[in-house]
Subunit: 624 residues, 2 copies
C-alpha cells in the first residue's frame, strides 16, 4: 500500500481506528502507571498510526537489521504512544505495555535503549532531531544504505537552540533521507507555546534553513499520508511536516485544555469509552530491503605514531596523529570536530580520511548528537573541540550515557596551561563534568606517546570516554612502546625512603617530577605517580603509596572540586580503614592572561608550589 497517491475510504477508516487504538493504549498504560503523558501522546497518534502502517520500513523481529528505518521520539514524554505502537506492531504484549513505569520494566517514563527498538534515550527536549541528523548522515555518507530517519518532535522543543543547529546541519547537507514530524499541539507543559498553531512561523524558519516544509492538519489521515509520501519522495532537502494537532485529542475532558500535561486522564474508563473502546488491531509493518550491508572503508596495515624520548610535543598533536593512524587500521573510526581542527589537530585525520571526517562548525551540541547517532549504526566516533567548549554540550553527554552510547570525546587546550587566551578558553571544570557521567572513562595523558596509546585504546572503550589534551609542548617521558592500561597509573619515582607521594596528571606530571628534584636537593624523597587514568583511577597503587609514604599531595590543572584530587580521595576512602594525610593543589581563583609558565605559578600548581606544599605537609602543616 505504501506510497499510493490516493487513500481509499476503507484504508483511511482503518488508519483512523489505529490512531484511536494508540490513544486508548496511551490512556490505559498511563492509568495503570498513575503517571505519564497521555495527552501529549494522543495529539500525535494519527501521525504515528499512518507512519507505522504505511511508511516505516522496520523489522521488529530484527531491530539491528541494516536496512531498518530509524524512528526517534524527540518528544520522549510521548512514550505511551511509542509503546502503544510497539504493541500494535506485535513487538510487545499488552501485559508488557501495562508494565509502563513500573520498577524493573524497560518501558520507562521516557524511552531508553533498554528496549531493543529504541536507538537513543530521549526526554531532554531538543535532542532527538540533532541525533536524527547524525543517523541520516550515517545512512547517506557512511553506511550508504537507503534507510530513512523519522523524528517525532514537539512544538515546544523548537525553542531549543539545538534544534536550529540540527536544522542548519541537515539543511546545508541536503539530507533528504531525514523527515521531522512536528506534533504542533500548541500546548506546552505550562500553557500555550509561543506560536500556537501558527505553523507558518515554523515553516518560514525551516525553509530559510534549507528544508522542504509541509503544513497539515495532523488529524487528517489522507493529509498525513500525503505528507509522509511527499517527504520520502522529495529529493535534495530534508522535510519537515508541521502538523496542527490537539493535545488530548478525542477526549473532551482534556482535549486542547491547559493543565492536562503529564498526568493520567481524570477518568480513564470514560475516556476509553469516548475513544470508541479498546481495539485489538495489529499492523504488519513493512520490512526493510533484506540483505543490505553497510559500507565499510578499506583498511591497511598501519602503525601508531611514536615520539622520541626527550622530544617536545603536544598531546593534542599526538591525538591528531594517532587518529590519522587509527583510521588506517579501523574502518569504523570517524572523527567530528567543532571548527577547530587546526587546533585539535584532527585535521591530520581529515587529510588522510576525508570521507570519515565531519566538520560540525561551531555547534557543539550538534557535534555530540551526531556522534551519538553514528554510534547507533556501529561507527566509532571521536568528537573533538576545546575541552572548555564540551561544557556547551553537557546535557547531550549526560543523555548519551543514558542512551548507553559509546562515544569518544577529545578536549584540547585544557587548563590554565594554555596561557594567554584567558579563562574563557580554559577547561577547568571538564574532569568534574565527565567524571560525574555514569560509566565514563576519563584519561589525561602527560606526553605524546601516552596520548597516542590512550587515543587508540578509546576505540574499544564502551560508554562515554574522554581524553583531555594539552595545548603546549611537553617532553616525551615514555618510550613509544610503553603500554598504558585504562585504570592504571605509572610510578615515575619511587624509593623505600619516600616521605610523600605526589599524584599528578597531564601537565602537572612534569611539574611534579621537577618538584621531586627540588625536594631531593633538600634530602626529601618523593614518590611521583602519573595518574593518567583519572577514572577509573588506580586505587591499588594509590593505596600502596598512601601506606608507604603516609602523605599524599595531589596537583591538577583543574578546579579543586570533582577533579583528580577528589578522585584520589575517593579511591583512598573506598578502601576500608583510616585515610592518610591528603592535600590538594588545584586552580582556586579565576585566572587572567599570562604565559603558560606564569599561569602554573599563579595558580600554585608549578614545581615550586608543589615542592613547598610537600615540605609543609611533611612538616605536619596544611599544604594550603
Amino acid at each position: 500500500m505504501r506510497n499510493s497517491r490516493e487513500l481509499d475510504d476503507d484504508v483511511a477508516y482503518q488508519l483512523s481506528e489505529a490512531g484511536q487504538q494508540l490513544r486508548v493504549d496511551s490512556v490505559r498504560c498511563s492509568a495503570a502507571a498513575s503517571s505519564g503523558h497521555p495527552t501529549s501522546s494522543m495529539s500525535a497518534a494519527d501521525l504515528m498510526a499512518v507512519l507505522l502502517a504505511r511508511h516505516l520500513r522496520y523489522d521488529f523481529a530484527d531491530p539491528r537489521a541494516p536496512g531498518n528505518d530509524h524512528l526517534i521520539f524527540s518528544k520522549g514524554h510521548a512514550s505511551p504512544l511509542y509503546y502503544a505502537m510497539l504493541k500494535m506492531a506485535g513487538a510487545i504484549t499488552d501485559e508488557e505495555l501495562l508494565s509502563y513505569r513500573q520498577a524493573g520494566s524497560p518501558l520507562e517514563g521516557h524511552p531508553t535503549p533498554r528496549l531493543p527498538w529504541v536507538d537513543v534515550a530521549t526526554g531532554s527536549l531538543g535532542q532527538g532531531l540533532p541525533i536524527g541528523v547524525g543517523l541520516a548522515i550515517a545512512g547517506r555518507d557512511l553506511d550508504q544504505l537507503p534507510y530513512r530517519t523519522w523524528v517525532l518532535c514537539g512544538d515546544g522543543e523548537l525553542a531549543e537552540g539545538s534544534i536550529w543547529e540540527a536544522a542548519e546541519h541537515a539543511g546545508h547537507e541536503r539530507l533528504d533521507n531525514l523527515t521531522a514530524i512536528v506534533d504542533v499541539n500548541r500546548l506546552g507543559q505550562r500553557g500555550p507555546t509561543r506560536h500556537g498553531w501558527h505553523t507558518e512561523v515554523y515553516a518560514s524558519r525551516f525553509a530559510a534553513f534549507g528544508w522542504h516544509t509541509i503544513e497539515i492538519d495532523g488529524h487528517d489521515i489522507a493529509a498525513i499520508d500525503g505528507a509522509l509520501t511527499a517527504a520520502a519522495e522529495h529529493a535534495g532537502e530534508p522535510t519537515i511536516i508541521l502538523a496542527r494537532t490537539r493535545k488530548g485529542r478525542g477526549v473532551s475532558a482534556v482535549e486542547d485544555r491547559e493543565g492536562a500535561h503529564g498526568k493520567p486522564l481524570p477518568d480513564p474508563d470514560e475516556a476509553i469509552r469516548e475513544l470508541g473502546g479498546d481495539r485489538q488491531l495489529s499492523v504488519e509493518v513493512t520490512r526493510p530491503v533484506p540483505d543490505l550491508r553497510p559500507r565499510r572503508f578499506p583498511v591497511s596495515y598501519g602503525e601508531l605514531p611514536g615520539f622520541k624520548l626527550g622530544e617536545m610535543a603536544a598531546t593534542r598533536t599526538a591525538l591528531g596523529q594517532a587518529l590519522a593512524a587509527l583510521g588506517k587500521t579501523r574502518s569504523e573510526v570517524v572523527v567530528l570536530d567543532g571548527e577547530v581542527s587546526d587546533s585539535t589537530r584532527t585535521q591530520y585525520f581529515e587529510t588522510e580520511h576525508p570521507d570519515r571526517f565531519f566538520e560540525c562548525y561551531i555547534a557543539e551540541q550538534q557535534m555530540i548528537a551526531m556522534a551519538v547517532g553514528m554510534q547507533v549504526r556501529g561507527w566509532i566516533p571521536y568528537a573533538s573541540t576545546f575541552a572548555a567548549f564540551l561544557s556547551r554540550a553537557y546535557d547531550f553527554i549526560r543523555m548519551a550515557a543514558i542512551s548507553r552510547a559509546s562515544i569518544r570525546l577529545a578536549g584540547t587546550h585544557a587548563g590554565v596551561a594554555i596561557g594567554q587566551d584567558g579563562p574563557s578558553q580554559m577547561a577547568l571544570e571538564d574532569i568534574a563534568m565527565l567524571r560525574a557521567i555514569p560509566g565514563s572513562t576519563v584519561l589525561y595523558p602527560c606526553d605524546a606517546n601516552q596520548a597516542v596509546r590512550l587515543t587508540a585504546a578509546m576505540a574499544d572503550i564502551s560508554g562515554i570516554s574522554y581524553l583531555r589534551a594539552s595545548r603546549g609542548d611537553t617532553p616525551v617521558i615514555y618510550d613509544a612502546d610503553e603500554e598504558f592500561a585504562v585504570g592504571g597509573s605509572k610510578v615515575l619515582r619511587s624509593s623505600p625512603d619516600d616521605q610523600i607521594t605526589l599524584v599528578a596528571a597531564g601537565v602537572t606530571v612534569h611539574e611534579a617530577l621537577a618538584a621531586a628534584d627540588l625536594l631531593a636537593e633538600d634530602k626529601v624523597s618523593a614518590r611521583v605517580i602519573d595518574a593518567y587514568s583519572v577514572k577509573p583511577i588506580d586505587a591499588a597503587t594509590l593505596r600502596k603509596a598512601a601506606s608507604d609514604t603516609g602523605r599524599i599531595l595531589t596537583v591538577e590543572d583543574h578546579r579543586p572540586e570533582g577533579g583528580l584530587g577528589d578522585a584520589v580521595l575517593d579511591a583512598l576512602a573506598a578502601g576500608a580503614g583510616t585515610l592518610p594525610m591528603v592535600h590538594k593543589l588545584a586552580v582556586r581563583e579565576i585566572p587572567g592572561s599570562a604565559t603558560p609558565a606564569e599561569q602554573l605559578q599563579l595558580a600554585g600548581i608549578d614545581m615550586v608550589s608543589i615542592a613547598a606544599g610537600a615540605a609543609s605537609l611533611i612538616a605536619g602543616r596544611a599544604a594550603l
Copy 2:
C-alpha cells in the same frame, strides 16, 4: 553629528582614519603580546569606528551611568579592537593598551569585567547576543530607560544554537532597543564558514525570526553609518546588520587569507606602514542622557512563608512561595523560568509579580544569559528549571562566573527521588557541575522552612548560587523561625556515645534520620548531620564529628563523583592531619522508572541501605 542622514566627505575620511587607527592598535598590541586575534579585529574596525564616534552613547568616565548604552563583543576574540576603542575613547592609555595579555593586566585575551567598561566576559562564542537580549529586556521592561544594546557578533558563531534562542526571544519580544552587528568576514578559525559572504542566507533566517535586517559592505563608512542610524530608528523589531567584511582588512599579507586566525601579523611594522602608520586620533563619545534613574518596583511589608512542623511539603513549593514573598520586599528580585513554572512553582511569583517574571520557554541557555544580562543592571535574577536541564546551559554558567555575575539558579526535581519519570529528568550530576564553578554556592534544603530561608538568603549571595529542590513532599523538621547560615549545617542527632556520623542533604536527611532510628534499635548511636550547605560546607562541624565518632558515612541522591561525599572528603582532607574512615553512598547505576521510595532503595540510599552501610563500617568493613 549623530543620526545625520548624510555623511560629508570630511567626516567619512575621519571615520575611515579612525578605523585605520583601530587596526594599527590591534596590530600593535597583538605584536607586543606575541599572541591575539588582530585579523578578526581588523575586519570589524570600520564598523566599530563609526559606532563609537557617532552612535554609541556612553560616558567612559562613569561606566555605571544608568543611561549608558551597552556594547558587548560577542566575538570576544576581537579584544584587540575593543581595547583599541577604549584607547581612542580616552579610557585607557597607549601604555595600558600594550599590556594586552600580560600577567596582571586586565586587558585579557578575551574581555572580562576586570575592566570597568566590560559588562560580561565573552570568548565562548554565541553567548554575547543572548546576554544582549537580557540587557535589552532589562532596558525596556525593568529599568525603563532609553539605553541601547549593541552586540558585535562573528559570522562563525551564528552556527551556535544559542544564537537562535536569542533570535527567537528578541524577535518575539520585538526588542527594538537591540542591534546585532555581524562581522561577516567569511573566515573561521579553520577556514571558510558555511555561508561565506552570503549574507542573504543569514538575513532570511533572522527575518523569519522577526528581525529587521540590513545587509551592507562593512568597509563602506557611509553604509555603516546609515545602517546604525536605521537600526536606532527602527521600531518594533530588533535589527541585525549583516556586514560583509574582509578578515585582516588593510594588510595584504593577511587580508582575506586562510591560516591567519589567532596569531600576530607576520611583519607588524610593515603592516602598520601599509595601514598608513600610527595615528593619534581620539573621539569624543556621545554622553548618555544624564540624571536617569532606573525604575524600581514598589515594595511593601512582607513576611517569608512558614510551614508547620510535621507538615508534608515539597521544597520546590517552598521555593515558589519564598520567591513570591521575596518579591514583595525586594524590588530588584526578578524570576526567569524555562517553561516549567507549574513544576518549579515559580508560578507563585509570576502570579504576584507578573512584571518581574520572564518566561523563557524551553531555551535554558537563553534563560541563563538573560539572567546574566539583567544582573549587569543591578537586578537580582533567579532562574529556574528542572535541575537536570541546567546541564543544558553549563557553558553559560561557567562563563557567568568569569563574568563575575551574581545569578541565582534553582533546579527542581533533583535525583532519583523524582520516581517514575526516569533518568532523563533526574539531576544526578548537578552538584558536581555547580561545585566546580569558581566562587559558587550550592544549597540543598531538606524541608520547606529550610528551603524558604535559603531561597531568601540567595538574594544576598554574590556569584553563582544554586538551590537544589525536590519534587516530592518531605516532612517539615525545622521551625519556621530556624535560621540557616550559608556555610553551616544542622546536627540533628548527637550524643557522646555516637559511633558513626551520617552526613546527608535534601531527601537523604529523612532517610538518615530513619536509619539512625533503625540503628538505635540495635544499640548503635549515630550522629546525623544535615549538610544543607554543600558549598561552602561546614568543615568545622564535620571535623568535630569525625573526631568524635571516627567514622563518616555520606549519603546523597547524586552520582558519587563531585557531590556531597566528595565535598565532605575535601573538607576533612583540608584540615591538617590524618583522615577518619569515610564511606559514600550515592547513585552508582543508571536508574529506570520506579516509585520514589523504590528508587531510593534501588540506588542504595534509603534508610535500610544507610543502616546496613553504617553497620558494616562500624564492623570495620567497607560499606560498599
